[in-house]
């Protein structure tokens, strides 16, 4: 991790000095343990702020759409896939980007660490290659990072960036043939009433802050359907019907485009795992179209393209 941080500072400094890019987007150390803050660096002498840790869970591709500058961007596997999605969807041009790839060993879920200490306040978290040392008022403990990874990192099969211009380290081993959809199968196996209750319960704490939507690189519409006021498609109260409409429609809008980066779940202040909705659609995209989002900058997402050999008659 420390080696990654140093390497990315070095690359960023060089890029800015040589004016190969106008700015570099990365992470800087947060003001709280287990937090980082996305940062935009414009001067070579400010590159020392850049850092890497197991808490860089936000997806930096989110900061790209519609930018005009030449940009250096730090990208772990999922960020790089969302950059690819942006390129395919014309949100940014490939030649505008210098992608500084990070081979990712998975992000640690800070909420899992928090529940480990049962609501006590963590005052210090120090990371080493495989472990986290956590300390609070009257406790200290060392845990293995691998036991507390974000759920999406556990099932991730693309830890290494799929597109990059330079890497900050050696590629890491990819997980082979796991069955990443155990959680989805659980809700699929439910009867419709039970499933309705399950999802209603999942979303019951939603406060409609839209952190999930706004943390998502896919959600770049100039005006989101929930923000349309003329006509207004969705009610703005916390009525369960409206909350459910928001989440389900948002998930559908991500179908075949979502990389399961987990930013939505990490951003949620209410700990809602709305990934259960997007993952169901990712599974469909994989099973129906053999598609995993963001693996190529050549291929359009399955739901905005057409093939003459489509197996459904109605579209031929």
């Amino acid at each position: 991790m420390i080696a990654y941080s140093e390497k990315m500072r070095e690359i960023a400094k060089k890029l800015l000095k040589e004016k190969a890019v106008d700015l570099v987007i990365g992470f800087k150390k947060g003001t709280l343990p287990m937090m980082t803050e996305p940062v935009m660096i414009k001067e070579p002498e400010e590159t020392g702020q850049l850092c890497w840790s197991s808490f860089c869970s936000m997806n930096l591709a989110n900061y790209l759409p519609k930018r005009k500058e030449k940009i250096g961007i730090i990208a772990k596997g999922c960020d790089s896939r969302n950059i690819a999605v942006h390129i395919v969807e014309n949100q940014i041009q490939r030649d505008q980007l210098y992608i500084i790839g990070v081979p990712c060993t998975g992000m640690v879920d800070r909420r899992k660490i928090q529940s480990l200490v049962a609501g006590k306040e963590l005052r210090e978290v120090v990371e080493s290659d495989e472990e986290l040392y956590i300390k609070g008022k009257d406790f200290e403990q060392t845990v293995k990072k691998i036991d507390y990874l974000q759920d999406n990192c556990i099932t991730c099969m693309h830890k290494n960036p799929v597109i990059y211009d330079e890497m900050v380290g050696e590629m890491v081993g990819e997980r082979k043939d796991p069955d990443p959809y155990d959680d989805v199968k659980e809700s699929e196996a439910m009867g419709s009433d039970e499933r309705w209750e399950f999802f209603s319960n999942l979303l019951k704490d939603c406060i409609r802050c839209y952190a999930c939507r706004n943390a998502c690189p896919l959600c770049y519409c100039p005006t989101c359907f929930v923000d349309e006021s003329d006509p207004q498609w969705v009610g703005k109260s916390i009525d369960p019907t409206d909350t459910m409409s928001f989440h389900i429609l948002r998930a559908f809008h991500c179908a075949g485009r979502c990389t399961d980066c987990g930013a939505c779940q990490q951003a949620c202040p209410m700990d809602i795992n709305m990934r259960l909705l997007t993952r169901r659609l990712n599974k469909d995209a994989l099973e129906l179209y053999g598609c995993e989002a963001g693996l190529s900058i050549e291929e359009r997402p399955p739901l905005d393209t057409y093939r003459p050999d489509d197996y459904d008659k109605f579209i031929r």
Partner: protein, 345 residues
């Protein structure tokens, strides 16, 4: 005002006695966090928390509130007539509210109950509500109440303040309402000098434990435009994803939007929390948006709390230092850093 003692075992009895006359809202543990819930029979209060995830402001200012109902049936004599939605205002107690959250209620009060405007539902809820505060023995590292006019045992906005002394609670009545609460709750035992001394020491100890401090002294004398045009806003706003988390978890954010929702001929006029982080917040009917860019919205949130409010009310900043936005912001925008930037400009 009376100063009493409640033994640890008697706390449950005190709450039960209050439940005879009041709806009692208290911190209840749900998953890893706490929230204020109406206490059901047999449910236990969990006071082992620092701050609840959401502030209790929604008990006085609900996230969605049905204000009026109307009917659009042209054949009816009542077509197009707004009628106040029926509401009940039970005598209620918020038990275990933190001093910062109680101060925040007083702060919101200037918006909903002032000589110019009186929001009828806010006023009625405030009249029927009593506040039993619980001082903070262990402030968190993101608490900075002492920098913004509060403290772990601050009394503003409370009717009773409880000090957890380990073996017992020291209960300090702060208003006539508070006196009545202690009486109705069967709290009779007067505090002795030693208990009072221990409470004072606890308060001092808790204040000393606060290690997060923000500067506010120069905000008042700064030129509004100088702050408005400050060079740091782009940098502050860059990571912001423009969600409403900070405003929704904030105990002092009071902005709302009014919407009509209609089904066939029946309609409701609803007031929902709104957020200055949302583009729709300032969108004009013409299509023009005076705060079309993220940086303008981020600036607005901080300028409102740390400058406009300061200038308009002369009562300090519109922040009680609870640290919720610091903890909940998905991209770690830390208001304490913005305090420094604005104050030191």
């Amino acid at each position: 005002m009376s100063e009493k003692i409640i033994s640890r075992e008697d706390l449950e009895r005190f709450i039960k006695a209050l439940q005879q006359d009041y709806e009692v809202y208290a911190p209840v543990k749900e998953g890893v966090s706490h929230s204020f819930q109406p206490l059901k029979d047999g449910e236990t209060v969990d006071l082992n928390f620092c701050n609840t995830r959401l502030s209790p402001k929604s008990l006085l200012f609900p996230q969605s509130e049905r204000m009026f109902e109307f009917n659009l049936d042209e054949t009816s004599e009542e077509a197009h007539i707004l009628k106040e939605a029926p509401k009940e205002f039970h005598p209620s107690v918020i038990f275990g509210i933190r001093p910062c959250d109680a101060k925040a209620v007083r702060l919101i009060n200037v918006n909903f109950d002032n000589p110019e405007f009186k929001d009828p539902w806010w006023v009625k809820r405030m009249d029927s509500m009593a506040f039993i505060g619980l001082g903070c023995n262990e402030p968190s590292s993101t608490c900075f109440c002492t920098s913004v006019g509060g403290g772990p045992f601050h009394e503003e906005g409370l009717d009773v303040l409880l000090f957890d002394l380990g073996d017992l609670y020291f209960a300090k009545a702060l208003t006539d309402k508070g006196e009545r609460l202690l009486e109705q709750g069967g709290v009779r035992k007067d505090a002795d000098a030693d208990t009072k001394k221990r409470a004072d020491a606890l308060k001092q100890e808790a204040e000393d434990k606060i290690n997060s401090h923000v500067p506010t002294d120069k905000l008042k004398d700064k030129e509004v435009l100088e702050l408005f045009d400050a060079p740091f806003w782009d940098e502050v706003a860059f990571p912001c994803i423009n969600c409403g988390t900070c405003t929704f978890v904030c105990p002092t954010c009071w902005c709302f939007d009014i919407q009509d929702e209609v089904q066939k001929t029946q309609g409701d006029r609803i007031r929902n929390w709104d957020s200055c982080m949302f583009p729709l917040f300032t969108l004009h009917a013409s299509g023009h948006n005076p705060r079309s860019d993220k940086v303008q919205r981020v600036r607005q949130r901080f300028m409102h709390k740390l400058k406009y409010y300061v200038d308009k009310y002369g009562d300090g900043v519109a922040c009680v230092g609870c640290g919720r936005c610091v903890n909940s912001c998905p991209v770690n925008i830390d208001i304490r850093e913005v305090f420094k930037l604005m104050n030191e400009l």
